[in-house]
Subunit: 81 residues, 2 copies
């Protein structure tokens, strides 16, 4: 069982890193790029014995309290059996 | 039109950041976590006038040459119409 947690800056927060990448790409002639936002993700292997019913709740708690900063970041979970 | 590029360290490369997160989570009592690998992703907005037929090739080139280091990293594309 695997869980993916995707963390991005909120839309309202300036993403300087993404803006820099977008500018660099435009400067290299990639004119079809309108905007870039950068985020991070975590690929989490769940131990075989874990209770599948509790995994989503636990991963959600981990994402909210450890992996993301909910003040400035959004996160999204994707849990695969 | 949007493209997502996901970049992770290759399986054979030690992911010190992921290992640190995994250790921290285990130390906090999250015993159902077996392993964590960390990566980054880029959410790319494609300009409205871009040729959809060429976008995949262009994003692939950008991922390979700018966003990822193919020596130590793998990348994955996800292009949404």
């Amino acid at each position: 069982m695997k869980a993916h947690v995707y963390v991005t800056l909120k839309r309202t927060v300036l993403d300087a890193q993404g803006k820099t990448v977008a500018q660099a790409l435009k400067g290299m002639g990639h004119t079809s790029i309108a905007d870039v936002r950068q985020g991070k993700f975590f690929e989490i292997d769940i131990a075989p014995g874990a209770d599948p019913g509790k995994v989503r709740e636990e991963i959600n708690e981990i994402a909210r309290e450890v992996l993301a900063n909910p003040v400035i970041e959004d996160y999204r979970l994707d849990i695969q059996e």
